[in-house]
Assembly symmetry: D2
Homo-oligomer: 377 residues x 4
């Protein structure tokens, strides 16, 4: 793996590295960790990389690695830069024969995402998008329960993602994360909706197997001087007629990272909180609610395959993130060996999820400006 | 107190009686418990009432009681019938000089509510509406914290009321509660939104002290053959610019009576679940979340005045309901004595809340049918 | 009902009155609310009692009431005084033909309890002891699940009762509750163990149907100058070989009234917290934990008979307390009518529970002073 | 790092490897993964190790690695075998100049532990013991709060460790974990008390900074045919006069790995559950309970240094385990460079903890057999 971005002071780069390292299936061999060559160099040294494989920028890295003999050069690129620097390295990597794993949202706008989609299709290379919340075992359990019809037809979905860290104008200080995420030139058309709303959208579609058909959005900017939405409420309609609510906010003072999804079907439903991810509450029409737990009882193999340690030994965010990496690595290994991907592990978000996410951003922004109630997705 | 409705097999009548009895401030002295005189008679006997004060219908009761000497006759009427039988006995009671306590929603439609509002104003009699959820101590604590500015300006309100008991077509069996609540002739223009959506609306306005200014509603009927909405999602805008979400549903399979409200302000916010009503979570921008509890530490006097027993001795639904009765009784006692109502206890929902609730029903129904996004409240 | 104790400023007297009033089965007709006749008189007036039936002391009350015609005089006495004033009024009431409902622990010491036991047997009168925690519906559900063998043989019981209100020397201020409860002349041989440890002991034996056979206790007094234990830890052995832990403490700073019991059997077990009393967690060997809830699904009739309102409408401490009163009243009604007690409601703590509680107090005090590990119960 | 044990089918070996890999500070370079050379070889291949550094047994590994040039050979040995195979490789590694990280409990018996203690002292090499629960950020926060006197003098400690996985005679099937842990020849003098009771003891002493002075234990074997205790209840007395309860059980049907500790002091206390490890409940005498969370507000630097990702991104068991490895690695790096260990990271369990753990095992076994109440630790 070669990394683009993620130098000193970044948040998500370190997450990608820990996720990649956890299972011993991926090795970081090179990187262009910053657009500042000196910072890139120092970051590489922190990571015990040989200096000759720490590059000043991604173009340099892709070119240099391509020249290395197969087996020695990186197999894929991990892109962990701000949104506006996703497409260029991803496209260049694909064009040069490197597989890609990319942070979300996939691009700066829908047009870029569609171009990338074509490129992935054309090259036949693997492309993973780190919508990491789908990597949790209990999310997979929920998905399987829906798929197997345990809850009957789905009627209602409530997905919410409250955070509070942007309750004040943090971007006015020199907080790097806040700065780029609230900057329309780097983040894209939406703020909270792009950053975390897309996670909520992706999670809802992943678990239910449904697609959003129409939506009605109300985006807000509560913090004075902020240039992108920091809050949004959305009514949803899914392709099977189910209705829903999605909200994402970064001004919910005191909230941490409280992604939650509730799904209600004819016969039962489920409830999952990211902050206590090893628990899935399962409700039934006329019997007691059950507490499904990672490692307890008979979960679906799809869920069990994504847990590492016995019941009661909590796994968290990094393990879910590592599931994306591990699955990508196992599928890549199969791909390189000319084999079919391993069934239970052929499960990670792809460019298709990326395109839907970018469309979601476009549509909520469009809807929020419109006087019309429903907008087709 | 004389009761209209609440005979054998009814649900809310017994609740009113227990709530009235709890604090020893109210005595049930007569009733017209059913439109069926025999059932009324039997119900009265169950309650150890003297037969001569168990009436065959409310008209008879009001007339007969009026003839009794003051001090002996009932002081007020409690109306616990289905919605379409709220206005007639309430109006007749007021016209005959009796105070009224009435179950919610206050009437069958907005027009009736407005007529009642005029009548209350004209007679100067007391009128209480049992939006009982505002009777909880921790709801009052939340209200006071908002009022005292602890959370700064309110930005976002999320109020939800999921139930699951109408997930199937229960009204097709002979379940009395389901039958009238899903019947447009008895329930009014809305189903779930009228029954429980109005509780959510009332609670949000009560705690925040704000009023809904605009809304955008999507009402649904998921159960085939049902004649009223059993689910609804609403975007809200409050008069201070705060935004919100309200949802109320009776098809959330496995949910009991899970009213919850979250309020987010500039500096903090709070989170209250009706199913664990003695707890109020209080979140802050940059310090640990606090668990406020009935009876613990320094609550506002307005909250403390509505708790009866020490910390850790859970009070519940009936106690909150009893707070409405107790406050009404204390204010009535003051009224009868020509005194000012006692400050801490002069706090119960009135006809004004009733009118807003009926307008809420009208507006969500109107909005749900409209292609326009926002409807003025 | 005539009440002994419970005048202005008392805690438990008001609880008994609310519990008695809730279901409309019991009427307070007279009282001797204080050993101070003036305070008794004022307390009676607060309660709207006719002055002639407010007595200066219990002896006076019992004598005067006995002279009243049957049907008019009180049927039973409720004793809500400090522990050292339980036996005298209880004995006098029984001797004069009045049934008794008494606060816990039943007496000042085991000798008194045994005398009372004989008197109850001899008179054939009804005697209820308000170990109110056994009145909760989910406690009854737990008891039935054990009884029906759902959990297999019971192996381990963990019952705990932490409070924090005596963390400081509150008795040195003029807090009435603290004063008598820490006074060996009024409270008896034990402090925390008598006040709340007996509740824990009673609950464990009630739910499991087992009896403590041996124990090993370590009682402590952490607050300087206090004259009775404020904390205690006890190892238990039950008559079937199950082992257990009981702890009760009043110096657990920040704890409210956190009675909890966990029961583990061969095939499963359960977990109940008094502070969230409508929930019973049920654990199983190899399937998900279930959340049993008051009003949800198929509970045992014994549990359902003790709930009043639908699922999700929380009932609390007063309702559980009222279950003791309601059951006692229904059994008394049957008794007076010469009928058998109603099966589902013939369930309230009796003098037998009282004797076991007093023995528990004696034994933990004895054990705590002993160097020997196990003491026979 | 070279690993002893942890081949295919083992549980804790994989945990150690993931913990070591997470932060990129430790590289697995060799191993003797099984006493079966073929299994060792296959396990090494699974881990992409070069075949020449996969050894048939630990003696071979230590000898061969010692011959490699410095910088190439392993720096330390990680021992993840059953208890009876801790001492031999640890002692040999130390004698040959290798640092050691060892799974708990440290040895088969106290005598071995003391010998190891001397060896560590004599060689001056680093020795870490993976009492991993002390690696959680909120455990460190709790420790600091006690140390800084936030809770005043500690009065009561309740530490409990219920598991349910040995509720049946699992060792009679071919479950490897159950087999050795219930075998006195491999596990040592205690079963549950050795396996998990020592974690509880270690955690209590770590957080409080106190030492157990006396104890009174009751060990039980509930599953027929089992050869070691599967349950135990212990009364504790600490060196400052605080009292406590410790229980550890593996027959608590339905429990996962529910380690919990509550600490009560004069002014407040805390409550930590391993299954929701990012939360620390903090109780106070007369103000609301606070929910301290990893990443929220101002935690002590000692806590913050052991979290990797922002608030609301849950970290779990592997991250806490990785903290032991990371700290050990940083201290080892400093040691090798002749520097002082980095202050915030010089915090991992050592041979001293190991000796106390082994003494704990000896003492609870002794106490359980004794008729005397208290046994000196």
């Amino acid at each position: 793996m070669g990394m683009v971005g993620g130098g000193r002071g970044a948040f998500i780069g370190a997450v990608h590295r820990m996720a990649a390292a956890l299972d011993g299936e991926v090795e970081l061999v090179c990187g262009a960790f910053s657009s500042n060559p000196e910072r890139s160099r120092l970051s590489g040294a922190d990571l015990y990389l040989p200096p000759e494989r720490v590059y000043g920028n991604y173009e340099e890295m892709i070119k240099a690695e391509k020249k290395l003999p197969e087996g020695e050069r990186m197999d894929f690129v991990a892109i962990v830069t701000p949104n506006h620097v996703h497409y260029p390295p991803a496209a260049m990597a694909l064009k040069n024969g490197f597989h890609v794993i990319c942070d979300k949202p996939v691009c700066f706008n829908l047009a870029e995402a569609k171009k990338l989609q074509k490129l992935v299709k054309k090259t036949g290379l693997l492309f993973a998008l780190t919508h990491n919340y789908t990597g949790y075992p209990m999310v997979k359990q929920a998905k399987m329960m829906v798929q197997k019809g345990k809850f009957g037809a789905i009627r209602k979905v409530v997905v919410e993602y409250p955070q509070g860290w942007l309750s004040t104008r943090l971007e006015a200080s020199d907080q790097k994360q806040a700065a780029w995420r609230t900057d329309p030139k780097r983040s894209g058309a939406a703020g909270a909706m792009g950053d975390i709303g897309t996670h909520a959208e992706n999670l809802a579609e992943y678990i239910t197997g449904l697609q959003i058909k129409r939506l009605c959005a109300d985006l807000n900017t509560f913090v004075e001087g902020r240039r992108l939405d920091d809050d949004g409420n959305v009514l949803l309609e899914f392709d099977n007629g189910a209705k829903g609510i999605l909200f994402a906010t970064q001004i919910a003072a005191g909230e941490e990272n409280n992604l939650r999804i509730r799904i209600y079907g004819e016969k039962g439903g489920c409830d999952w909180h990211q902050q206590e991810p090893n628990t899935l509450l399962v409700r039934w029409l006329d019997k007691p609610t059950e507490i499904y737990r990672t490692g307890v009882g008979k979960l679906y193999p799809e869920a069990e395959a994504h847990a590492r340690i016995p019941a009661g030994h909590p796994e968290g965010y990094l393990e879910a993130f590592a599931n994306i990496y591990r699955n990508f690595a196992l599928c890549l290994r199969a791909h390189l060996a000319g084999k079919k991907p391993p069934k239970l592990y052929n499960d990670y978000p792809t460019i298709e999820d990326g395109v839907r996410g970018m469309r979601f951003i476009e549509k909520v922004v469009e809807s929020s400006k419109s006087k019309q109630k429903w907008i087709r997705f």
